[in-house]
């Protein structure tokens, strides 16, 4: 359904300042280039790699959450049949992983993450030693034989114990706070609250989650004496950052490390930080001059892999009598676990929340404090959405509570506050480029209304609720936007090189890193349109640090916005080169030729004169004496791209209808509607897939998944029996509508679509559940929502 199909709905289309470039390929759901190999079992994932003489690695891990290590004895391990070597931190003597912010000591406390724990362990599962054996079964035997002695310390497992404890996770952080930044305190906050018609207060909390790529982490490292290089084949979203950090921890020149990435079974952010295991395995392969493989098992992935999400928002909002928000005051506390991740640091979540908390609403006065706590839990990485699911949940609960207090419809409260004029510079000093915030809200509501769900809700004696979530998402942060966070490692740009060979086929590189997002297809569409060639003539190569000088990989929905723009620019330059050579060979002026849309260059004033790309390439490589004097041989071009200023924002509204089961308290989703705007859609099916998959993960966080710990810091979910990953029976079909506001400053008008689903779903589901419980007097502000909580609300409220 499109906006104009909804009777009575007037849709104001945002004025595009830039007409998105659509061509023969962009905008079409063509068959994915990735599919044939993945469907036939001929993909190559990291655990599929087998090298001659390859050894296997595993880790002796901490069994307690917080302890001083008094001894590690690996002698029995080394004696196990099949075990080749075993090393602790002292044996390997590697540099620590240190991620820094350029902030004063009162705002940020630098801490180090050793590759293997040294004098102390800080979470259950922390690696203490690495065991190398001839097969993975012997590795397990060797790990079992290791003896670790320690003195157990009190464990910091929640906000209350962290802030008042005498125990320190890191000696450098006396109060267990790694970051404490009050980013905004704009004029008028207190005045607004003192004059408020209604003040709303809410404490929202989201449980600790695992991003849970179905392929666990893994690495195969090998030493190549001829290249004088360590080859690290690893499933990472950020190959160049792995290369940089491996070189630093091993204290070797970066040119002696090459990182390549095979097919990846998902990442979702868990693989966008550098893992200590990757570095340890690389170090051992270099030391032994033997290939070494490590594949994380599921228990390790659930307990010792990077986790995410555990955050608390204490939000106060003032509203006037007309339902306009007049001030927002927020305290953000994120439990980042035992260590700061590289390159983002423990500051990533509270800093993003602080910068973007006003969300899609016109907030005139804003105060925020953001803190990152350290605790004796597995460290965290920026999982799909990165604090947005949490701050969006906080502000969307505010809207719902304000609606109740003001006796207004919740959608109407949003309508009165949502940003409608663009570009809009908010109280948070962020400029939002044009989007369809209001339009998406109107269409989502109209869809639910048209389908009769409000009637069902009113008439049915079942506990049925409707929930909304309206949000935007800054996609593809450029270096300028990241620099504002004061990171010392500032992501942003990306590079691309394109080459056409003598057959006219094209290979293009990108510093981004596909791990399910279909880059091989969508980037090929972009290139094919710019060069007017068949999309099957284009091959994308990613995930090899030798092929591109530097790159920032794939996270923050940056790939199509930044990487896609870089490949578009490189393609355009190659096209110009083809035309220049052709003009020379056709003995005409460069202005008198153009690409003909069919794999050739045509002379404009005499279309009978034409050269195919193969003919031009033949000259460029094999008969270069025919080239113009000022053109170098070969058909190659390079480009870089960076998003200027505050970047671009995708947006969406989600609408959900749920039923709370009166017998069990279980929540069933009856209807899920997503209205999204990610600018120009390169491949509609792929965008739908990103939305649906994101929404599934958001529902998982809202209703099912949580990593909990007991008071000793022992994780309770070490298998899929306890960590509840939703199956097809828990995830509903989702209907998706697209609005399209082309981005003015990306090459294709695209905005990025990777994370939106995950951001919107938790708030939408939580609001719907609260609506279903509206007669009970109970309001829920915590995810995941447990059936027992819902049931007790239903029973108490009846």
């Amino acid at each position: 359904m499109t906006a104009t199909d909804v009777p009575g709905l007037e849709v104001r289309t945002a004025e595009p300042r830039f007409e998105g470039r659509r061509g023969r390929w962009v905008g079409a759901s063509i068959p994915r280039h990735e599919d044939p190999r993945l469907l036939t079992g001929r993909g190559r994932f990291v655990d599929d790699i087998a090298l001659t003489g390859m050894l296997h690695a595993g880790f002796v891990r901490a069994t307690v959450a917080h302890a001083r290590v008094t001894g590690i004895d690996l002698s029995a391990t080394r004696a196990v049949a099949g075990v080749v070597a075993a090393y602790d931190a002292a044996d390997l003597a590697l540099g620590d992983i240190v991620a820094l912010l350029d902030r004063p000591a009162e705002e940020f406390t630098p801490t180090a993450m050793p590759i293997l724990a040294k004098d102390k362990v800080r979470f259950v599962g922390e690696p203490l030693a690495i065991v190398i054996a001839r097969d993975p079964y012997a590795v397990e035997d060797g790990i079992e034989a290791a003896v670790v002695e320690h003195e157990v310390l009190d464990a910091i497992v929640d906000e209350a114990t962290a802030l008042r404890a005498s125990t320190r996770v890191h000696d450098e952080a006396p109060d267990n706070v790694l970051l404490d930044v009050s980013m905004f305190d704009t004029p008028g906050v207190d005045e607004a609250f003192s004059h408020a018609h209604v003040t709303v207060e809410v404490t929202t909390r989201s449980g600790r989650q695992n991003a849970l790529p179905l392929e666990t982490r893994g690495v195969v490292a090998s030493w190549d004496a001829r290249d004088d290089q360590l080859l690290v084949q690893t499933c990472t979203q950020v190959p160049h950052q792995v290369r940089t950090l491996v070189a630093r921890c091993l204290d070797v020149p970066e040119r002696t490390v090459r990182v390549t990435v095979p097919d990846m079974g998902g990442g979702f952010g868990q693989k966008c930080v550098v893992g200590r295991e990757e570095v340890a395995v690389a170090a051992v392969a270099r030391r032994l001059h033997r290939p070494v493989k490590w594949i994380e098992d599921r228990r390790e992935a659930l307990t010792a892999g990077f986790l995410a999400r555990e955050q608390t928002y204490r939000t106060r909002a003032a509203f006037d009598a007309d339902g306009h928000i007049t001030a927002l005051d927020v305290d953000v506390v994120c439990d980042m676990g035992a260590y700061s991740c590289y390159p983002f640091t423990a500051g990533i979540e509270p800093l993003m929340a602080s910068a973007e908390m006003p969300s899609v609403y016109r907030v005139p006065a804003y105060r925020v404090r953001g803190r990152a706590l350290t605790s004796n839990k597995a460290p965290t990485a920026p999982y799909r959405g990165v604090s947005r699911p949490q701050y969006v949940m906080a502000i969307e609960r505010v809207m719902e509570k304000a609606a109740r207090a003001l006796d207004l419809d919740p959608v109407e409260v949003r309508r009165r506050n949502v940003i409608t004029e663009f570009p809009y510079t908010g109280v948070n000093a962020v400029t939002y480029d044009p989007g369809t915030y209001r339009e998406s809200l109107d269409l989502a509501e109209a869809t639910i209304r048209e389908e009769g769900w409000y009637d069902v809700r009113a008439s049915d004696d079942r506990a049925i609720g409707i929930g909304f979530c309206c949000f935007s998402e800054r996609t593809g942060y450029g270096s300028e936007a990241f620099a504002k966070r004061k990171m010392t490692v500032v992501p942003g740009f990306d590079l691309s090189e394109i080459r056409m060979d003598t057959t006219g086929a094209v290979v293009v590189t990108s510093g981004t890193m596909n791990h399910g997002q279909s880059h091989e297809t969508t980037f090929a569409q972009i290139v094919a349109d710019r060069l007017s060639i068949d999309v099957d003539r284009v091959k994308l190569r990613q995930g090899d640090t030798e092929r591109i000088a530097y790159g920032w990989g794939t996270f923050a929905s940056r790939s199509v916005t930044i990487g896609g723009s870089a490949v578009a620019l490189a393609s355009e330059r190659l096209g110009e080169l083809l035309c220049r050579v052709a003009a020379h060979l056709l003995e005409t002026r460069p202005e008198n030729v153009a690409m003909d849309g069919d794999g050739g260059v045509v002379q404009l004033d005499d279309p009978t004169r034409r050269l195919t790309y193969e003919e031009i390439a033949d000259v460029a490589y094999l008969r270069s004496h025919l080239l113009p004097k000022d053109v170098e041989p070969a058909l190659t071009a390079t480009a870089s791209f960076d998003v200027p200023g505050d970047g671009t924002f995708s947006n969406a509204t989600h609408a959900v209808v749920v039923e709370a089961d009166r017998g069990t308290g279980a929540i069933r989703i009856l209807r899920y509607v997503c209205v999204e705007d990610c600018g120009v859609v390169i491949h509609p099916q792929v965008v739908d897939g990103q939305c649906r998959g994101g929404i599934a993960q958001g529902i998982a966080g809202a209703l099912f998944e949580e990593v909990t710990y007991d008071e000793h810091g022992e994780p309770s979910a070490a298998s899929f029996i306890d960590y509840l990953v939703p199956t097809v029976t828990e995830i509903p079909d989702v209907s998706i509508s697209h609005l399209e506001t082309p981005c003015a400053f990306t090459e294709n008008g695209a905005k990025g679509a990777g994370e939106g689903g995950t951001i919107g779903a938790p708030a939408a589901v939580l609001n719907a559940v609260n609506d279903a419980l509206r007669h009970t007097g109970v309001e829920l502000d915590v995810t995941p929502i447990h059936p027992r909580t819902v049931l007790s609300a239903l029973e108490g409220g009846l």
């Binding site: 990735e34 993909g43 599921r298 649906r692 599934a696 298998s719 995830i731």
Partner: protein, 161 residues
């Protein structure tokens, strides 16, 4: 106890003999001894279903089965589905419906679906949905996987009708 055992089984129509420790899983034998790496291992405790293969025509978790238990069995993996040139109808349907993103769970879903379609060729969408709840996918949100299998079921019925 860990003395090697000579295992004989048929994999994708080929008779194979492998020397295995009794504790070695069928998944490891397929992936690492026979180098059929299309079968993936996602959890090693029988929940995610990425390692699903057909053993004597029934879907089985290859991570939960010791290889020695497959003595004399007929095993089919994802590598058996295409003919080397063309995708099977089910594989083609997965591609057309965008039923895979990263592709890691896909071989397990394909083999599960083949088992389900063989057992219940008349299955409609809801029954297919119920059966596919055996496996986990983290990328797609499942909807397009159900669509793909349902479309294959429908077209196979039309072909045999």
């Amino acid at each position: 106890m860990n003395d090697p055992h000579l295992l004989s089984l048929t994999v994708n129509g080929t008779e194979e003999e492998v020397l295995v420790e009794p504790r070695r899983t069928l998944a490891d034998v397929l992936r690492h001894d026979l180098r059929l790496t299309g079968t993936h291992v996602g959890c090693e405790h029988g929940v995610c279903g990425a390692c699903t293969v057909l053993v004597d025509d029934a879907p089985v978790r290859a991570c939960l089965m010791f290889a020695v238990q497959a003595e004399g069995a007929d095993v089919r993996t994802v590598e058996s589905l295409d003919d080397g040139v063309r995708l099977s109808d089910l594989q083609q349907s997965f591609s057309e419906h965008h039923a895979l993103q990263c592709g890691f769970c896909t071989p397990g879903f394909l083999m599960l679906a083949e088992g389900v379609l063989a057992e219940s060729p008349d299955a409609e969408r809801e029954e297919i949905r119920e059966a596919l709840s055996a496996n986990l996918c983290r990328c797609t949100g499942y909807q397009t996987i159900v669509d793909a299998v349902h479309a294959t079921a429908t077209s196979r019925r039309e072909t045999t009708a």
